[in-house]
Amino acid sequence: MDDERQLVDACRGGDASAYAGLVKRYSRSVFAVCLGTLGNVQDAEDISQEAFIKGLAGIGRLRDGGQFGPWIMKIARNLCLDHARRRKRGAEIVALQGGDRRGPDGEHADLREAIARLPEKYRLPLMLYYFDGRSSENVASALGISTDGALTRLSRARKELRRLIDSEEVSHE
């Protein structure tokens, strides 16, 4: 954590290279938050990058350098919520123009589709688990819930994911 404070201090002092260390440390967590919130890999990638750029711009306002992780994840989460609101409005316009809903292509299409359709309360813990260290304690800490609560959500998420994949397979047949 001291190491993290030093990196944050160096960034505040104008050393942009120090930001690389912070980006590498939190890229997976931020991506997990974005994918967990948005359910779409492409959007999650774009918003993650935006979050890191915004994070660097605002790093002077971060009071405790040791709290960079939770802070950058909060930025990512807020950007995702903004994006989701914009997307919802955009989707309404597309719908009015007669646009169709396109599913994901390529590898793991069924799984990606199912992840996208998973309720956010399940998707977020699941993505945090798989992209951020595979630890239920990490999930609990990121979501501010008990480890037991995190485990419950994770197991329900897996169950729901399987149900969605199965229903997807049936609808494709």
Partner: protein, 475 residues
């Protein structure tokens, strides 16, 4: 599906994220063996796990792009927002001329950035990419060559899985460890003997493979520094160096195509601050009336700051994500083997380990404390004491196991003392002190980050003490 199936399946789902208590896991295993529907359910769960892991791997390039592009943006001009004074200056930027002038400044900044930060995005490989690949792997097999100064090198073959299983073959001995269940099976085909060790308090940690020593070293230490390229196995391998403290260095050669290790060399230099950094006690079966020529050893490899002797551990011949036969990781002893079982508490309890060790020592030495803390590991002193206490002309196996348990206790206490000594915050004055002496100090130390010292007295009481109140020590 009956009620039992429903309840077991809920726990099966949970076990995908956290190991269950052993008893419950055994119940599930037993039930799955009998119930075809639950077997199918378990298979489906495993399929989901594989699919999710595959999916995680498939989006690794997206994460790499996030890192690359965010770092590039930072280097190319994105910068912390200015303070109030420069905010006023920003108002001037609204004029057209100022914007053009600013564009020129930005261009200079970009060029400067490119020049200054080439190392970040201009082709130098990132160690984080290597760790990401390691952490995303399902399994790895590798060879391990241990070279201790003054000893012949010894080689072992290893297989490790991300699910917490490790198989090591050393000469004819096969050791299989299940880190989820805390079980270690040691099999010797030539003697037809098997040892099953139940390890209580084993913590696997958060990383997938962090029970593999070299992966734990890379994960715990600072990030690896790229130092250049070297030819290895026909490829221009990327070379990284990780310096873990003053006495440990790890050098890693990775395949630039896969970002996975080709060779790792972990070098340990002797740390002169420590008197014992690799606590070890060896006992013989014959010490307790058993067969001659067979020994059992308790070793504590808990040092992250050098070892007792200069040593080099070489890991190579890596193979990643191959199809491994699950039977290779079976922890069921072969039927026709003679089986011995033991139970060790391998958890670390900090100063309680020290109290337990000194208490155990005093109980074997007429209530005296050791004359030096390193006595806890001195073979010539410890072995006769253990034999005297545990050799009761009974079952040699049982007595040996009891003695090994006591040896473990002594070494855990010693490990604690050495970790304090490494920071220079340890003092031992126990020579001549008798167990029960409330006023006589035995030792004191300063825990990391604490303002006060901790002091242990002859009655095994531990208390806080200010540095000004510490006992006087001879210079």
């Amino acid at each position: 599906m009956n009620r039992e199936c429903r309840k077991l399946r809920a726990d099966m789902e949970r076990s995908a994220f956290e190991p269950l208590p052993r008893k419950r896991q055994d119940e599930i295993d037993g039930h799955v063996g009998r119930c075809a529907a639950c077997r199918e359910y378990l298979e489906a769960m495993r399929g989901d796990e594989r699919a999710l892991m595959d999916f995680t791997r498939s989006v690794e390039p997206a994460i790499e792009r996030i890192e690359r592009e965010s770092i590039r943006a930072a280097a190319c001009g994105a910068a912390p927002e200015p303070d109030e004074n420069t905010r006023a200056w920003r108002g001037i930027m609204k004029s057209k001329i100022a914007v053009y002038a600013a564009a020129a400044v930005a261009l200079v900044a970009v060029l400067w950035g490119l020049n200054h930060f080439t190392g970040l995005f201009g082709g130098e490989p990132a160690f984080a990419d290597v760790m990401a690949k390691i952490n995303a792997a399902e399994n790895v097999t590798f060879r391990q060559l241990l070279k201790y100064e003054g000893s012949d090198p010894s080689a072992a073959e290893n297989m490790a899985t991300a699910t917490g299983l490790l198989r090591t073959t050393f000469e004819e001995i096969v050791i299989v460890r299940d880190f989820n269940k805390g079980i270690m099976l040691n099999v010797s085909p030539s003697t037809k003997r098997a040892f099953l060790e139940h390890q209580v308090g084993l913590k696997r940690g958060k990383g997938l493979f962090n029970y593999v020593d070299w992966i734990a070293t890379l994960q715990d230490g600072p990030s690896g520094k790229f130092v250049g390229r070297e030819k290895m196995d026909g490829v221009d391998a990327n070379v990284f160096v990780v310096a873990n403290g003053e006495f440990q260095t790890t050098r890693i050669w990775t395949d630039p195509g896969t970002n996975l290790p080709l060779r790792i060399v972990w070098s340990n230099r002797h740390n002169p601050k420590l008197d014992v950094v690799e606590p070890m006690i060896m006992l013989y079966e014959s010490d307790f009336g058993g067969e001659k020529g067979r020994s059992r050893t308790v070793i504590h490899m808990n040092s992250s700051n050098g070892l007792q002797r200069n040593s080099e551990w070489v890991y190579d011949d890596f193979k990643w994500n191959e199809k491994l036969d699950p039977a290779l990781f079976s922890i069921v002893p072969p039927k026709d083997y003679t089986l011995s079982e033991s139970r060790f508490d391998v958890s670390f309890k900090g100063e309680k380990d020290l109290v337990d060790a000194l208490s155990a020592w005093a109980s074997m030495s007429e209530n005296a404390f050791p004359s030096a803390i390193s006595d806890l590991n001195t073979q010539e002193k410890v072995r006769p004491m253990l034999i005297k206490k545990y050799d009761r002309n009974g079952d040699p196996d049982k007595e040996l196991e009891e003695a090994m348990g006591a040896a473990q206790l002594l070494l855990k206490g010693l490990s604690f003392s050495q970790s304090m000594k490494a920071d220079g915050n340890w003092y031992y004055v126990g020579a001549g002190v008798k167990l029960g002496d409330k006023k006589a100090p035995v030792c004191w130390w300063k825990p990391e980050g604490s303002q006060k010292y901790r002091i242990l007295y002859g009655d095994l009481r531990v208390a806080d003490i200010d540095s000004v109140d510490l006992p006087k020590t001879p210079r």
